[in-house]
């Protein structure tokens, strides 16, 4: 589905719906009818910051650009002069890799201006309402007020599950890991059917179960773009309720599900919930996928379901010697 934009006012209005939150003091790159990613970053105010941002986005945009690729640059800041400088600099940089800048806008809380033509206008309720209605049809959730509030939405009351963890671990030790894995998969599938929030005891049992890497992987490999909304809901709830000792797995799964659904900001917020004293391989891998703007379809293409009669790339990798399967060179961010 294509979002139709009729004027700069609507272009500014669509940004929170695409990002999942209302950005402040940011620069946003919006592809125009192409396969490029949307990107937002804090407004880089120094030459060094701008160089850093460019090095981060250049490869991602260069990889997915095609002849005729174009984008709009929108600087959201109270400082219009800074927006003009930064906007023109990035337009020139994109031009150097063959991407045309079709519109360059500045916007503050209430106004917008075209930095090429000088045209100005007010941001209107009419534009916001039309865009909100159009994005509802795409199934997107309403945006959070700020990026901070998006991050805060992943922190809930963690005491109830924390109190249940000792007895839950004791009960899990009475069962085999395979049995707990089967229960976890069945519980996930039940949530996909009914969408009912897990009880504290089920949440504790699931969080203990996904400490087992094979169990976590079974739930991870259940994700696809058809059911990812349900996975985002499930792992958001688990991340909100998980005490530190069991939060690495659900937060990483939420990061992956967010990335698979195209929601890079939520993915970063989820990865921030992985306790810093618990290095976790999946979290690092998802961070690298988000950082390099890897397209989710690359994962889906590699992870073909077995029922299609083909070996998945995961099976292929599993048969390769570990020395060949690992990265030959440092993965970005590692």
């Amino acid at each position: 589905m294509t979002l139709s934009i009729q004027n700069p006012d609507e272009l500014v209005a669509v940004i929170p719906h695409l990002l999942g939150f209302k950005p402040e003091e940011s620069i946003v790159f919006l592809p125009m009818g192409s396969d490029l990613p949307v990107a937002r970053v804090d407004l880089p105010t120094t030459p060094r910051d701008r160089e850093g941002v460019w090095r981060s986005i250049r490869d991602a945009y260069g990889r997915y650009s095609q002849p005729g690729s174009s984008l709009a640059i929108v600087c959201l800041t109270a400082d219009r002069a800074m927006a003009t400088d930064v906007g023109h600099e990035f337009a020139a940089r994109f031009d150097s890799i063959g991407i045309d800048t079709r519109a360059m806008l500045w916007a503050d809380e209430t106004r917008w201006a075209d930095l090429d033509t000088g045209d100005m206008g007010l941001q209107t309720d009419a534009a916001r309402e039309r865009i909100a209605a159009a994005t509802v049809l795409t199934g997107r959730a309403q945006p959070a007020a700020t990026r901070d509030s998006l991050a805060e939405s992943l922190v809930g009351d963690r005491e109830p599950v924390a109190k249940l963890l000792p007895e839950t671990r004791g009960a899990a030790r009475e069962n085999t890991a395979r049995l707990e894995g089967r229960w976890a998969l069945a519980r996930m599938q039940r949530f996909q059917r009914d969408g009912v929030r897990l009880s504290d005891s089920d949440a504790a049992r699931l969080l203990v179960a996904v400490e087992s890497i094979p169990t976590r992987d079974r739930l991870w490999l259940d994700m696809n773009r058809g059911n990812v909304g349900s996975h985002v809901a499930m792992w958001t709830d688990m991340t909100q309720r998980a005490p530190d000792e069991v939060r690495a797995a659900p937060a990483s799964l939420l990061g992956f599900a967010s990335w698979l659904s195209g929601h890079g900001a939520l993915a970063w917020c989820a990865l921030d919930q992985v306790p810093k004293d618990k290095p976790y391989a999946l979290a690092n891998l998802v961070a690298a996928a988000v950082e390099t703007a890897m397209h989710p379809r690359e994962w889906e293409a590699a992870n073909l379901p077995a029922e299609r009669g083909l070996d998945s790339a995961a099976d292929f990798i599993s048969r390769r010697p570990a020395a060949q399967a690992g990265p030959a060179q440092a993965v970005p961010g590692f």
């Binding site: 979002l3 195209g262 890079g264 099976d315 599993s318």
Partner: protein, 48 residues
């Protein structure tokens, strides 16, 4: 988050698949700037 990769290599099969896909990508220098990349519906201007 700390994205230093402290384990020698990904442990499980899907972790190795994801690492393998990432291996195909050019290595860039990690910078402090955090970019929110979003895959969204295409935006088209239908009227100037």
């Amino acid at each position: 988050m700390d994205i230093t990769y402290r384990r020698p290599r990904p442990a499980s099969r899907p972790e190795r698949l994801l690492a393998w896909l990432l291996r195909l990508r050019p290595t860039t220098t990690s910078v402090a700037a955090r970019i929110d990349f979003v895959r969204a519906e295409p935006v088209e201007v239908t009227q100037a």
